[in-house]
Amino acid sequence: MAEAGARPSGGAAGGARIRAGRGGGLAAWLAQERVFRLIPFVVVEAFFLLLLAVPFLLTLYISLLKWRANRPFEQAFFQGFDNYFDVLSDVEFWWALARTFYFAGVAVLLELLIGFLLAMLCAQEFKGRRLYITIFLVPMMVVPVVVGYNFSMIYIDSGPLNEVLAPVVQLFGGDPRIRWLSHPIAAQWAIIWADVWQWTSLTFLIFLSGFSALPPQLIRAARILGAGRWQIFWRVQLPLLKPVIVIAIVIRSMEALKIFDQSVLLTFGGPGNSTQTVAFYLWRQVWQFNKFGFGAAASIILLVMFSALIYYGIYLLVRERATLQREGG
């Protein structure tokens, strides 16, 4: 640091000194200030190019080809934007997209509500609080495939869920063998609940940290000024938690739009196409029907659509983070 300060225009003068003093070799060249500071950047960019840019460009290229993977690549031919028109005019694509938004919307809403309530309870002091917190955090750490298999066992017609529900269902004269995975609407809810079970942990964690970051002095001040519990909640706690709520909504929505595992493992998109999400639709077009060009075009279209959403989400995150910093300081 001291040396950098001693030669303000580091580039030319310092470079010259090193050039004069070097006995040759890469190490000396890399050690120059103007080169050294670029090293992390170059490494990150290299990974970016390799892992993101190359596959992206390939996808873009394939999306312009008429190519089915069950035929040799030599028979593929360039056909312009035909794949894009095909995707956009495929009703199934739009249905899958709508279904994805429906699943994500309902699941995220439930996760927010349940996570918020649990966090509110766990923010109080009571015996065994830590144990409950640990238990509530477990689902998030379970591998999604395992969650899928567990729920497929829970949901089978003669499975534990129906066993538990049977007395209630019979009371109303219903068939106790609810077909969780083969009735179109029940199957949709089966997937939503599996997602809620796994990801409420995350919203719980986010809200719990939000609650514990609330300055206790503000609540004390509100009590002295005569506010009751509900008034403190609505007028002080909830407004102060707004940034955290936005963060939870954005993070969970981004993830939920990619919902895939549950619909593969529980229902394989069925019955019919009633649980086919857009990610699953894409996977099926490519890996079941071998429509590589079509699949590539669909994924580019989704990328564009979701990018807009994600950028809006990131804008919200940045804005709320600024609010947090301003109000915290």
Binding site: R220, A221, A222, R223, I224, L225, G226, R235
Partner: protein, 355 residues
């Protein structure tokens, strides 16, 4: 009526006893300051008055009513916190209005009273700002305005000036005193700063380790501290303490310590042979008058007076306040004496006052 009575007040946190049986009467309209080092129980006592802490045993009486079971918001108090606790998501206006909003006061009335409180605290131009946009002094006034708007009969203040810089703190002291005179309410103020207590209080309560050490007016406490702890806590520089023994010397009592001895005034409390601590404030150490020899180790000019630290052969150097005209430098030999009127005699073991 805002007389406050604390009866045998005890607060325990698990095995720790923060407040051990406090009995105190706070008069209506009084500016009472509780002072003591951190962990002495002063804030816990204040929180029990406010209702934010529930006493383990004992009673808090406000007016004629035992308020132990009454919610903080219904005790008719206002409180200013150490970190002010302004609501960061509300404008200054809404912060001040909060106490009225939760009581569903009509908008018109809220507006009128907020403006009134803001004018009283000279913060009317800030009403649309957020607390984070206010300076330290402005935020302080907002917190006060938020407190006065509900017209509480009792103001509780928990080190409200500790986050301000030195200059602003002095200004705010004056302002708080004016506020007290204007409102004629009961102020209970907690601080660890003895100078703050001396300058503002009608009465001071000195606490230590959960017990009250002394209750009295600022000058009483300064002039007749009840024990060695209080004597050492009040006054800058800290009082000089000399450990020694009382001996009889031809019908009079003599205080004998390491390389120093003095005759005690006639009628001084302790009997012969007793181990005592003699306390003398810097203004009662008379440099140049007396026969004891010493050597200057350090001088601290304060402008209107100068502090002189000198070694006389005892365990710790003595400090004296001298006129700034008296130029002394380190290493210089001096003679000194002690002013009998300024003797404070404390028991060597318990620290209790003896004279």
């Amino acid at each position: 009526m805002a007389r406050i009575l604390l009866k045998d007040l005890v607060k325990q946190f698990g095995r720790v006893t923060a407040v051990s049986g406090v009995n105190l009467e706070i008069h209506d309209g009084e500016f009472l300051i509780m002072v003591g080092p951190s962990g002495c129980g002063k804030t816990t006592t204040l929180n029990m008055i406010s209702g934010l802490e529930t006493p383990t045993s004992g009673e808090v009486v406000i007016g004629d009513q035992v308020v132990n079971e009454i919610e903080p918001g219904e005790r008719g108090l206002g409180m200013v916190f150490q970190d002010l606790a302004l609501f960061p998501h509300m404008t200054v206006f809404e912060n001040i209005a909060f106490g009225l909003r939760v009581k569903s006061v009509a908008d018109e009335e809220v507006r009128r009273r907020v403006l009134q409180a803001a004018n009283a605290m000279h913060i009317a131009p800030l009403l649309d700002k957020r607390p984070a946009q206010c300076s330290g002094g402005e935020a302080q006034r907002v917190a006060l305005a938020r407190t006065i708007i509900t017209n509480p009969a009792v103001f509780l203040m928990d080190e409200p000036l500790s986050s301000l810089d030195a200059k602003l703190r002095l200004d705010m002291r004056t302002e708080l005193k004016h506020l007290h005179e204007r409102l004629k309410a009961t102020f209970v103020y907690v601080t660890h700063d003895q100078a703050e207590a001396m300058t503002m209080a009608d009465r001071i309560v000195v606490m230590r380790g959960g017990f009250i050490q002394q209750v009295g007016g600022p000058l009483d406490i300064y002039r007749r501290p009840a024990n060695q702890f209080v004597a050492g806590f009040f006054g800058t520089p800290t009082m000089n303490f000399l450990q020694g023994k009382v001996e009889t010397d031809g019908g009079r009592l003599r205080f004998r310590a390491k390389s120093i001895d003095f005759l005690l005034p006639a009628g001084a409390g302790p009997g012969s042979g007793r181990e005592i601590t003699l306390g003398v404030r810097a203004e009662h150490v008379l440099v140049g008058k007396g026969a004891q020899p010493g050597r200057v180790t350090l001088t601290e000019p304060l402008g209107d007076e100068t502090l002189v630290f000198f070694d006389y052969g005892g365990d710790a150097p003595l400090v004296a306040k001298v006129s700034p005209e008296l130029h002394l430098s380190s290493g210089e030999a001096v003679t000194f004496g002690l002013d009998e009127a300024g003797y404070h005699l404390f028991d060597g073991a318990t620290g209790e006052r003896l004279n």
